[in-house]
Symmetry: C2
Subunit: 135 residues, 2 copies
Amino acid sequence: MKDYYTPGEIAERFDLTLDTLRYYEKAGLLRRVDRAPSGHRRYRTDDVELLHLIRCLRDTDMPIARLREFAELVRSGDHTIPERLDVLQEHKNRLDARIAELIDRQGAIEHKIDYYLGVLSDRAAQTAHTLKDEN
Amino acid sequence: MKDYYTPGEIAERFDLTLDTLRYYEKAGLLRRVDRAPSGHRRYRTDDVELLHLIRCLRDTDMPIARLREFAELVRSGDHTIPERLDVLQEHKNRLDARIAELIDRQGAIEHKIDYYLGVLSDRAAQTAHTLKDEN
DNA sequence: CCTTGACCTGGAGTGCGCTCCAGGTCCCAT
DNA sequence: ATGGGACCTGGAGCGCACTCCAGGTCAAGG
């Protein structure tokens, strides 16, 4: 448990580029991060925690703008927990719907694959049959 | 069963704009579509069928470029079925992985929601307790 | 004949989320 | 003191998938 992390460490840990990390900061997803005397960023444990959630929400396609709103709520203090809940619950609803849609399409694609496999095996059977007749 | 469909009908049926439909044609997802003497497009049943699959693949985030490759295979005739299968199977693998990832994140988000709900109910209990003491 | 509505064209513009770059600073090891 | 590596800044650029637009054609209805 260190009390700070370097940009490189954070980038590695969350599989983000340094550019993306700075972009997130500019976009208001992270607060203005602490600096070493050299000017280099020093991320604290709660930056890491928030980034963890941000990563999770981004991975599930929450837009940057919405993420910024959420981050602002976090920065505004504990009294915003009900609003944060609203954001998360609405996002979860979207996500549930998206997952359901993907699973539905997954079925359709499997069906198409099976159809093509059928065509191929019919064709193979046909060829075998023809060869047999010819021999 | 009509033998052709107008752009408006297709757009409505697949919930696409006319612009997107034309864009797909330009991008090579559809062949050069038939025209009425007026110059208006006339979509045939096999355009509709292909569009159905295209919609399904786009909805699951297959990039336009890959879709164009697939469409070219379709246009090249039945002997490309093995290659089409490759495309579909590879896409299905991606999709399976994506669904698994989303479900994983879904769990994490639920967890966070539960955490916030816990904070709120603790806080409510605390308030009730305080009120009780004061009365 | 005139309007309306569906559609046409080529090409420019948009929004999103990064991603890249030039030129610079700081610090450490050789 | 020199070189390398990690990081800094502001701002430009990019890839994707549309989306919009101006100006036009055509067929049907009143």
